[in-house]
Amino acid sequence: MALSGIQIYKLLPQTNCKECGFPTCLAFAMKLAAKQVELASCPYVSEESKSQLAESSAPPIRLVTLKSDGYEVKAGNEVVLFRHEKTFYHKPGLFIRVSDKQDAAEIKAGVELADQYLVNYVGIELAVDGFAVAADSGSAQAFASAVQAVRAASQRPLILLASDPAVAQAGLNALSDETALLYAADAGNWEAMADLAKAQKAALAVRAETLDELADLTEKIKAKGVEDLVLDPAAESLSKSLMLETQIRRLALKKNFRALGYPTIRLPRNSAEAVQAITKYTGFIVLDAFSPELVYPLLVLRQNIYTDPQKPIQVQPGLYEINKPGPEEPVLVTTNFSITYFSVANEVESSGLPAWLLVTDAEGMSVLTAWAAGKFDAERIAKAVKEFKAADKVTRRRVVLPGHVAVLSGELEAELPDWEVRVGPREAVDIPKFFKQVLG
């Protein structure tokens, strides 16, 4: 949390020498608090004040970045408790757990599958972020081989789940030139883990049963020079994890409590825990296993929750060609809300049927929302037909309206007298059937 003008004033020389261009130190302090001037304008601030001011302007939740060859996963730097207050910025990283008890071939096959996984959601390619290698065997050598096996199959960032420092070290030694996350330091092993994280430039997760202990540990570890910390509040129920994640975020944002101003990590045991991790503040999430039928909805949920509430995702208005349409093909009308556009475009595309898709500028709203808001009416559709020169592309002039706005067909006929206006089905899923049965 930023300091107030008065708090900043106390750190200034208080001589009112005016060299900063302001009549008093207090006036300058007020401008600094409002972030309208730079501290450097005052030549007389002490080094100690400088470092205090720098500290206070650091983000309340530290940004932690895991890096590997070509990839980065960031968490932290969030500024609100509720997404409607601004937005959530850094999507939690989704990691897949791998055990060092599996043999190398098994690890390779599993990791390759998850590494190459890509799923398209409204035109965005979604993927998992990395892997978490677990030292289940207890053997340093087995762990190192497992890390190597994962690295051979994927370049994505890694989390090393190894709380025995000797085992963890073997895992880290198997990596070079990257920032992995080491999990986890606790009351028993923290000194060795901190040394290791420092020497190997790894981020370090810290685990404790209570927030008091957790804060104690992060302070001690920070004093040893490790700053990229990640918190594991070690909750065993959904209610407890919700409580602790909420308390951590509140302490960081509302009290500027530095000892807990770090992103968090969770290892969900079921889908409900994963949902809560995404909706309520977790920074790094380790899934037990990779299954597309769960990873796909989790990736979509993450995308949705981390969408900026001020900016619906939109596509460019225009006349789109799907499956190489000719002049006989129909012109389907829709809006430029991404979810709407892709529901329709994907449906037509996968059916193999050629068509023109006229995307009108409905200010990024869905069909019914835009209709209710007056942004998708006969006039706007007719305007788009003209603007994007649909008549030049087709000889057979047929427009198809979304079934939900069947009421517009009369007005649209009046607006476009030389076009045939058809009403399509309500849901995009039924478009292929409609093509076959109605358009023939």
Binding site: F82, R83, H84, Y117, L118, V119, N120, Y121, T210, L211, D212, A215, A235, S237, L238, S239, K240, L242, M243, T246, Q247, R250, L251, K254, K255, F257, L260, N270, S271, A272, V275, Q276, T279, K280, S291, P292, E293, L294, V295, Y296, P297, L298, V300, L301, N304, I305, T307, P309, I339, S343, E347, S350, S366, T369, A372, E427, A428, V429
Partner: protein, 324 residues
């Protein structure tokens, strides 16, 4: 040094609403369901006691649905042809409440008649002791024509009648008031619209402990973020003391998710979507758990397996952490 945990103290609270009446109170239900009463954000046990867990309703129809996912039809099998069998099966699947959603027409396309509807409702009440919600088909004239006789024929049962929307609420509210029932009020994902409709309904004299509000939701991938934030804002407004937002929230993730392509279609979809049935159930469960985190008091589902998973999540969310 022990950390001082910031605790919120809210001036407002959500009203407590009881659905259904037992014979002692003029109805025939074997149990009643009470929701609401929150005095803090969802599941903040460390700030105040969470008085009532969220409840799970299963949606059944008055006849075999025309447009439901084949996965749902395969699961429920023959009971979809008989609302009383379906209600029994829903109860057996672990539902706390039953939503009977009316179809606009019969299987041959003739408009549903009040006689048919009253019979369906009575059959359901006879088959299951769970409290009931009856939702019209969403066509104002027809809904009114069907819901009024239902309300009269079941006076005193404290059924929830719906769905009131700004275009159509007067008749439903009036009959609910006259026959000791409740109503649910739906508005499109907006705090002010929700308030407006709640004001209109309470201005008619509807007792405030007989109103549920439905802020509308979208499915995961289809606008859930709007519903999620609208619900968080509504709950914050309620706790801050805004009387016309202090109603328990009901949402319909079953209806929303089972119309998505992810749930409806098994063939010709990307391989990256994974197993169809598991995906469809995940879609419903993940959407529902998201909405529980943002303050849902009643969630209306469609698949029996989702009920088990959602109830397990609710139990876990209701477990009071020992440090609280």
């Amino acid at each position: 040094m022990p950390i001082e945990i910031p605790k919120e103290q809210w001036p407002g609270s959500v009203r407590t609403v009881t659905i259904g009446a037992t014979s002692a109170n003029g109805g025939s239900r074997s149990q009643v369901v009470t929701v609401g009463g929150e005095t803090a954000l969802p599941f903040m046990h460390f700030e105040s006691q969470v008085p009532n867990p969220p409840k799970v309703a299963l949606e059944i129809k008055d006849r075999r649905p025309d447009d439901w996912s084949p996965l749902l039809l395969e699961t429920w099998r023959d009971v979809v042809d008989d609302p009383s069998l379906w209600a029994k099966a829903a109860e057996a699947a672990g539902a706390d409440l039953i939503v009977l959603a009316l179809s606009p027409t019969d299987a041959d396309g003739n408009p549903t008649t009040p006689d048919q509807t009253v019979k369906s409702v009575k059959d359901v009440l006879a088959a299951s002791g769970l409290p009931l919600l009856v939702f019209g088909a969403g066509q104002a004239d027809l809904d009114n024509a069907l819901l009024v006789p239902v309300a009269e024929a079941t006076k005193g049962e404290r059924i929830v009648l719906g769905i009131c929307e700004d275009k159509n609420y007067r008749t439903i509210v009036a009959t609910a008031m006259a026959n000791d029932h409740l109503v649910t009020a739906r508005s499109p994902m907006d705090v002010n619209l929700a308030k407006q409709l709640n004001i209109l309904i309470s201005d008619m004299g509807m007792p405030l402990d007989r109103i549920l509000m439905d802020p509308t939701t979208g499915a995961l991938g289809y606008g859930i973020e709007y519903g999620f934030s609208a619900m968080e804002r509504l709950r914050l407004a309620a706790l801050q003391g805004d009387s016309m937002t202090q109603f328990p929230m009901i949402v319909t993730p079953g209806f929303e998710t089972w119309k998505t392509k992810e749930s409806k279609v098994g063939e010709g979809v990307p391989e990256a979507w994974g197993d169809w049935l598991q995906r469809a159930i995940n879609w419903e469960v993940l959407t529902t758990v998201t909405l529980l985190e943002s303050g849902a008091d009643i969630v209306v589902l469609r698949h029996p397996e989702s009920v088990g998973q959602v109830k397990a999540a609710i139990a876990d969310l209701m477990a009071v952490p020992e440090t609280a």
